[in-house]
Amino acid sequence: MSHPLQIDKLVKRFGGLVATDNLSFTVEQGQSVGLIGPNGAGKTTVFAQIMGEHRQTSGSIRLYGKDIGAASTPERIRLGVSRTYQVPRPFAEMTVLENIRVGQMPNNLWQMIRRKPQHEKEVELALSVGFLPSDLGKTPGELSMGDLRKLEMARTMATGTSVMLLDEVFAGLTVAEIAQIASLIQQMRKDGMTFLIVSHDLKALEPLVDKVIAINYGARIAEGTFAEVMNNADVRSSYLGAA
């Protein structure tokens, strides 16, 4: 039985700094897992290693049982994992639909030339994350932070991902936008998506996760249900105390 994501004794050093410290955890099929920790705890660095943007110093990352240590980022995406960024990274001079199109494209030059863009699928994805039909021709400069986060999610979904890593999806959003993204995540959970979610907004995170992993200085300090982790003494002192 192979899990969508299995991380084993992961270590990442930046020079003398240990950003990921012997971290192990598993995300099961259809599960939604919260990854929390104070600023600089190493959450984003875990994402970067899962995606192959940073190579781990040691330890292993398995995707559906397959060790992806040597795979490039596009290869990992093809295996079904994809992430969004803390600071959205859209294609600035492209419309909402064109941004999604890049996520949809086959990673094959000949097919890129031959195949027409799948317009209906792009529209469907855009509408499914909550864009209005009137938004589809807008460029990122005309979008709110909430819309930019939706766009990241739509482009990520367009790659055909089954494991989604969301980095600070609620940062910089209005209350209404948070509610919208949260309900989008709930919908996707129902549809079977597996999630690993980083968020400082614990109130928004609580209803979205089956379990939470708390890290500090790159090492796991607690793991369990949301309530269990919140009541953990180490978490209270290192994270909630500081917040």
Partner: protein, 319 residues
């Protein structure tokens, strides 16, 4: 992506104008247009790579030079028939394109631009010292076989080459591949994060750009019948290519063609008044002002003008 009626109409009009031009202009003007055609080819080549992916090449004369020298040396020194020499020159230029591509695996931005500039300078030096018996050293080569005789034939050859290249590149860049190359210019990490191999895409852009540069360079040398290394590996030549693409409208294929014609005629009309280097100063100034006024280039000005004229009818913007 979908072709619309006005795309066919505009291309038909463009081709019709190119065919009709010799009826209306003098031989002298025709010779100027021949240069504009070649400059347009070089600007398209630059645009396919730099206009799209944002990897600014300062080394295009290097690529054009490989095409020109290869074909000239093969035909003149080894009596290779021209119809073999030109394809060989294109292949050589594509190998040169791979050489320029290698630093793009690691470096970006101004560092990349400077490395490509070094390629151009290095080739200029090498051409002078390595086998001057083949390259003609500092003096270059003359008496290279020409493909055509007279301005009219030269015009038709250069115009058909330019139109063919422009049309095929335009069609290619309208596919999803063109979109992906533009995306690299906007955010390379996000392209990788969308599951696309940027290495493959960049290699394709370099090879396509080199293909066009090699073809243009080879035909150019067989039009001129000579090579002057000092004029070829020259910073003014380099900037004329880049400025043509930029003020015409980078990343559009047609923009660089418009830019090339605009620049060629600008330089030509300034010639009687400013014979020396001042000409390049004035043209630089005009280009800069135009670029500051409309960074998307002349093609965007034309598009806006068109919309102002027909705004009552046009609801959708052409894309």
């Amino acid at each position: 992506m979908g072709l619309r009626w006005y795309h066919f109409a505009l291309w038909a009009a463009f081709i019709a104008i190119m065919v009709a031009i010799p009826e209306f202009v003098s031989k002298g003007t025709l010779r100027i247009i021949i240069f504009a055609n070649f400059l347009a080819i070089f600007a398209i080549s630059w645009d396919v790579l730099s206009g799209r992916t944002g990897y600014i090449s300062f080394g295009h004369p290097f690529l054009i030079g490989i095409g020109a020298y290869t074909s000239a040396i093969l035909t003149k020194r080894f009596d290779v028939p021209i119809e073999w020499a030109i394809p060989a020159a294109v292949v050589m230029t594509m190998i040169g394109g791979i050489i320029v591509f290698l630093p793009a695996l690691r470096i970006k931005g101004s560092y990349f631009a400077l490395v490509t500039l070094a390629f151009m300078e290095l080739t200029y030096q090498l051409v002078q010292v390595i086998r001057p018996d083949l390259t003609g050293g500092t003096r270059g080569m003359s008496g290279v076989q020409t493909l055509t005789r007279g301005a009219l034939n030269g015009y038709y050859l250069s115009a058909s080459l330019m139109v063919t290249i422009a049309l095929s590149m335009w069609l290619l860049m309208r596919t999803q591949l063109g979109t992906a190359l533009s995306a690299i210019g906007m955010n390379e990490e996000s392209v990788r994060g969308s599951g696309l191999s940027t290495t493959k895409l960049k290699l394709f852009a370099f090879l396509t750009s080199a293909f066009v540069a090699g073809l243009g360079g080879a035909f150019y040398v067989h039009y001129l019948g000579s090579i002057a290394p000092r004029a070829l590996f020259d910073i003014n030549f380099l900037f004329t290519i880049i400025v043509a693409a930029l003020i015409g409208g980078a990343s559009t294929i047609i923009g660089p063609v418009i830019g090339a014609f605009f620049l060629t005629f600008l330089l030509e009309y300034l010639r009687p008044y400013l014979p020396g280097a001042e000409r390049y100063f004035i043209y630089g100034l005009i280009a800069l002002l135009l670029y500051m006024y409309e960074p998307k280039g002349i093609i965007e000005l034309l598009r806006k003008g068109w919309h102002r004229l027909f705004s009552r009818h046009s609801v959708e913007t052409p894309s």
